[in-house]
Amino acid sequence: MCQCCAEKKDIYLPELATVMDAKAMNVTERYLRLAMDDGPFDFVPGQFVEVSVAGIGEAPITISSSPTQNGGFELVVRKVGNVTKAIHNLNKGDKLGIRGPLGDGMYPVDEAKGKNVVFICGGIGLVPQRSFVNYVLDNRDDYGEVTILQGTKEYDQRLFTDEVAAWDKRDDVQMLETIDLPDKRWKSNVGVVTKLIPMIKSELKSAVVLVCGPPVMYKFVLMSLEEHEVPHENIFLNLERKMKCGVGKCGHCQINSTYTCMDGPVFRYSDLATMPEAI
């Protein structure tokens, strides 16, 4: 390495972390709690890490826990390919590599203060949103009315059921859940998540609305929010793109001129006007 580079850190080099806790949430999702081996780990809700399994590769995964909670940070990983499959094989005490936290596009933790906050989650979209949900609940007095909408395809795919039940019990949170293809076990709302939007009790127009789910969900949610006259400046979307480097170099995550890994993954809807590829 040359002199000037010797002082700089290698942006591609993962640091070691240890799995403090790991468990299967259902067939496809695995929960992990990690702690960095060296030094503190400070992040803002909405940021992600590049999880590295040596020999297999790296995958970007959003931090699911809130920075207000101590004892490491949490990830939830869906098994879809090589890296995520390898992450599923990790157990308590195993080592893995972490780069991050990454992404300057975070949840608007300060901007949302004093306002109503509405979370709209589709499926695994709850995982990143959960970080901000818990942040808001841990600083409950700073925020207005809190509404959480969760849509899941099938009963067995529901995530964090205990936590969701606890949110549901609170009288300072409106928790609405729906299932697309329910079975006998489900006694509540049926259908896609957009069906829940008219049921929101708090005022939507002035609320900060946070949306995260599969790509197809965004169009319909945005249409509905449009009907409720939510200004685009108040809507935040969590976008997913293929990522390799996570640090704005490799080009894979580009949405037009924007690098999702640098300027996202959370975007203000009004900023997407110049990004025709976004939705």
């Binding site: 020999g55 297999i56 390919g81 090589n82 499959k85 390898a86």
Partner: protein
């Protein structure tokens, strides 16, 4: 963890690909260190009925071969198609396209042209008979890629085989394009992974690794015009390995 068992079977082919494995020498010892080879006529004779990885070489030309292959599939956790014969039907597929084979056989096989397995019924690639978990493309296979794929499988990882065409590797090597020297190179529509073996040695790519997933054959026609060549030039070049696959040149 006990060593995974690997079995190698050959069907209709020249066995050139097995030769590539035998030629691995040092790396072959590494492979044997990480796994047990239980059936391999080329290198040993022991028979065994259970294996973690079955490697199939050659294409399927006879009914009894289909039965044998299905049996192998049922006993194998992972099944690999090795070499163009197995992955795309290879040169054996030619006989599906031509009435008079002799000339082609001679040109392709040279002195092997009269091997008996070349004169039977319609030829099938392995995945036309059973499910294939991993493909080792090429005629013959690329040793480096073969060892990479084996390491991936032994690690429980799906190997990353290029989806892009040969031109990518050709350009990365800094080769001048053979089209500019009057050669009809199939590089733009053939799957990379061989390190652009042929163009790097001055020979056009003749397509032994099979098409990429989404080849633009219409573009190929345009290019033929641009270089003042005849569409038949391309047709004859494509047919060598492209005969089984869907996008064929019309016009």
């Amino acid at each position: 963890m006990s060593k995974p068992k690997i079995a190698i079977f050959d069907f209709a082919c020249c066995e050139g690909c097995q030769l590539q494995i035998v030629n691995l020498e040092e790396e072959l010892l590494d492979l044997l260190g990480g796994a047990d080879v239980v059936e391999w006529r080329e290198a040993m004779s022991e028979k065994c009925d259970e294996y973690d990885i079955a490697i199939i070489e050659g294409s399927i030309t006879r009914l009894e071969d289909e039965e044998r292959l299905k049996l192998i599939r049922s006993r194998a956790k992972i099944l690999i198609a090795l070499g163009a014969c197995a992955t795309i039907g290879g040169i054996n597929k030619l006989k599906n396209n031509f009435d008079d084979l002799d000339e082609v056989k001679k040109c392709v096989y040279g002195k092997d042209a009269n091997k008996p397995h070349l004169a039977t019924q319609p030829t099938k690639a392995v995945d036309e008979v059973v499910q294939v978990d991993a493909y080792v493309h090429g005629c013959p296979i690329d040793r480096k890629e073969f060892t990479y794929i084996m390491r991936c499988l032994l690690m429980g990882k799906e190997p990353e085989i290029p989806e892009y065409p040969v031109c990518v590797e050709c350009k990365a090597k800094g080769n001048p394009c053979l089209w500019e020297y009057g050669q009809v190179c199939l590089g733009p529509i053939i799957r990379a992974g061989c390190g652009a073996r042929c163009p790097s040695n001055g020979f056009r790519c003749f397509g032994c690794r099979g098409y990429i997933d989404n080849p633009n054959v219409d573009a190929a026609k345009d290019v033929i015009d641009k270089f003042g060549l005849n569409i038949d030039d391309l047709k004859t070049k494509m047919v060598l390995f492209g005969s089984r696959q869907e996008p064929t040149i019309h016009g």
